[in-house]
């Protein structure tokens, strides 16, 4: 006996079923851009990662808004290491800023030195001696090796590989630091380059030691890659995570391995050919998808290219003076004017913008920090991913807080 009409949808229940969203129609849309409206559901959770957080590589803070596990908003907060480098440099002589540049990016003191030296040399028209140019290439490529290994160590540590890869990386780092120490007297804060050259000549046997370190490094890189490159966990955690498109990357001023991982061929060593980089034959590794895995891979390949450069430089380095005789260190007053000099640091384009008004102190001293500008698109890369991926994406950007906040 039928008392009620058939439900139109064919269901037999008396109550009309509540309208549940089907899986094809999610309550919110994953956004890869921040603009536009968001259709959010549920309670949002705001968490603050940092400034004391083991995975933020220092004192960096992110205010993350989560919908469940998914990031819907991410605001970086800076300034916890704002050490007023620029203000101090504007009150002291040109040369006295050199040790401060060491402390900008404390993994890569040599490349920071070089960027500053190149800007002052552009500003004052100082030439660099042949031997010093070779030494600069050698130390900055060593720095690149050091930076990229340590970065990969930290990146993998962020994924949960506590210890082992980082210990390997730091073992290699110690070998390179020994070289730097015998060269400059300090492990990390080398303060080694001078306008027009370098501070002191290479100690005896230094080149042989360097050759030894480099030949060991090749083998280390092989074993490091054996550990990581085809590691299933690493691939699962990094592939298609934090994808960045090339046009957005260019627009946001991303430089360095981050940019090349998106497939943009822009390496200042090739573009500007500063120093003597036009004498070396090396390739610029490029990524295809622009995800975290590509960034990892670009860095590994870059290290292999650096080894090639180093081998040639160590073979070809000529004898000669270490500082150009016309370069003046004391009482240095460049003519009024301005200059912007930049180099390809391990993290990206590191530039210094100087304005001179004829005084011994620069009128304006500005650092163009690659780490800070590479963070511009951090939010774009993280949206739609889970919190655990944020840590990996941040690790792949390769920041050093001394340079982000200066």
């Amino acid at each position: 006996m039928k008392t009620s009409p058939e439900p139109p949808s064919g269901e037999t229940g008396a109550d009309p079923a509540p309208v549940l969203p089907s899986p094809q129609d999610p309550p919110y849309t994953l956004r890869s851009r921040r603009d536009g409206d968001r259709n959010l559901s549920g309670d949002l959770l705001e968490i603050s990662m940092g400034p004391h957080h083991p995975s933020t590589h220092g004192v960096f803070q992110m205010d993350v808004t989560l919908d469940g596990e998914t990031v819907v908003q991410l605001k970086p907060v800076f300034g916890y290491l704002h050490r007023n480098h620029e203000k101090i440099a504007e009150n002291t002589s040109y040369l006295a800023s050199m040790p401060y540049t060491d402390r900008l990016d404390y993994f890569n003191s040599m490349t920071s030195n070089w960027a500053y030296a190149i800007s002052v040399e552009t500003l004052a028209g100082i030439e660099v001696t042949e031997r010093a140019e070779y030494i600069r290439v050698i130390v900055s490529e060593l720095t690149r090796l050091l930076n990229h290994t340590c970065l990969i160590g930290f990146l993998v540590m962020d994924m949960g590989a506590l210890g082992t890869p980082l210990m390997y990386a730091f073992r290699e780092r110690e070998k390179i630091l020994d070289l730097f120490e015998s060269l400059s007297g300090s492990r990390m804060m080398c303060n080694y380059l001078r306008f027009g050259g370098c501070r002191c000549d290479l100690p005896p046997q230094w080149l042989d030691q360097a050759r030894e370190v480099i030949s060991d490094f090749e083998a280390f890189l092989d074993s490091f890659e054996k550990l990581l490159t085809e590691n299933e966990i690493l691939m699962a955690r990094t592939q298609h995570v934090g994808v960045l498109e090339a046009d957005l990357a260019i627009n946001a001023g991303i430089t360095g391995p981050m940019l090349r991982a998106c497939g943009v061929n822009y390496d200042l060593r090739k573009v500007d050919r500063y120093g003597i980089y036009d004498r070396f034959d090396f390739k610029v590794p490029l990524g295809a998808t622009g995800d975290v895995y590509d960034r990892y891979m670009v860095r590994i390949l870059e290290m292999r290219e650096s080894l090639k450069i180093l081998e040639k430089a160590l073979r070809d380095i000529p004898e000669g003076p270490i500082v150009h005789p016309k370069a003046k260190l004391r009482g240095f007053r460049p003519k009024p004017g301005e200059a912007y000099g930049r180099i390809e640091g391990p993290k990206g384009e590191l530039g210094f913008y100087l304005i001179s008004d004829g005084k011994p102190q620069p009128y304006r001293y500005r650092v163009r920090p690659p780490s800070l500008i590479n963070l511009t698109i951090l939010e774009d890369m993280c949206l739609g991913h889970s919190v655990a991926d944020v840590v990996v994406i941040l690790g792949s950007v390769d920041i050093v807080l001394g340079e982000v906040d200066r």
Partner: protein, 204 residues
């Protein structure tokens, strides 16, 4: 206890010690630092815990990310004014007994960045520091030395009497006021209870 008797006993496999000695031996060899890096010095701190320098030999390899589980705060790097309240807050959250090592010129006095408007001129303006390590950055050996100095300090503390360990005393503060962000500077600029301007030699 008589040293001779103790030596005699140990030959027979009987080890004697004081409760205090045992207590301090345990405390000294399991100091867990807070995993907390501020700037360049933190990299040397990490290097110290890595293979070559191996801080684990001193029982301090367990870097704890949470202040609630840490005994030792190594202030490694420049403390900026924006970071100082966070540092004090972290210290307040650590359980007693807690110790502070100020690593590097910046943590001691501001170091090379002393003239900076946003740089705190030494963490001892807000926190009591047990060991200072000079250097910019201090070598890992220096950190190890500071660590051994701290161990000696812990060893010298007793269970009773005026030289009691921090957690047995009621007269030491375990929490310090967190400075507030002001319009031009931190407020207060220093904690007068822990810090007074040093007497200048030429002060006249």
């Amino acid at each position: 206890m008589d040293e001779g008797l103790r030596g005699e006993l140990s030959k027979h496999g009987v080890f004697t010690t004081t409760l205090e000695g045992l207590h301090n031996w345990g405390r000294r060899n399991s100091v867990w630092p807070l995993q907390f890096g501020l700037a360049c010095c933190a990299i040397e701190m990490i290097a110290t815990s890595m293979a070559r320098y191996d801080l684990a030999r001193f029982g301090a390899e367990v870097f704890r990310p949470s202040p609630r589980q840490a005994d030792l705060m190594i202030v490694a790097g420049t403390v900026t004014k924006k970071m100082a309240p966070q540092v004090v807050r972290l210290y307040n959250q650590m359980p007693e007994p807690k110790y502070v090592i100020a690593m590097g010129a910046c943590a001691i006095s501001g170091g090379p960045f002393k003239q900076g408007y946003n740089v705190l001129k030494g963490i001892d303006r807000y926190l009591p520091v047990d060991v200072h390590i000079p250097g910019c950055p201090p070598r890992p050996e220096a950190l190890i030395h500071a660590f051994m100095t701290l161990q000696r300090r812990i060893d010298a503390q007793s269970l009773t009497g005026p030289n009691r360990a921090r957690h047995l005393r009621s007269d030491v503060d375990s929490e310090f006021p967190v400075p507030q962000f002001g319009a031009h500077d931190l407020h207060p600029p220093s904690n007068p209870k822990t810090w007074t301007p040093p007497q200048s030699v030429r002060s006249q």
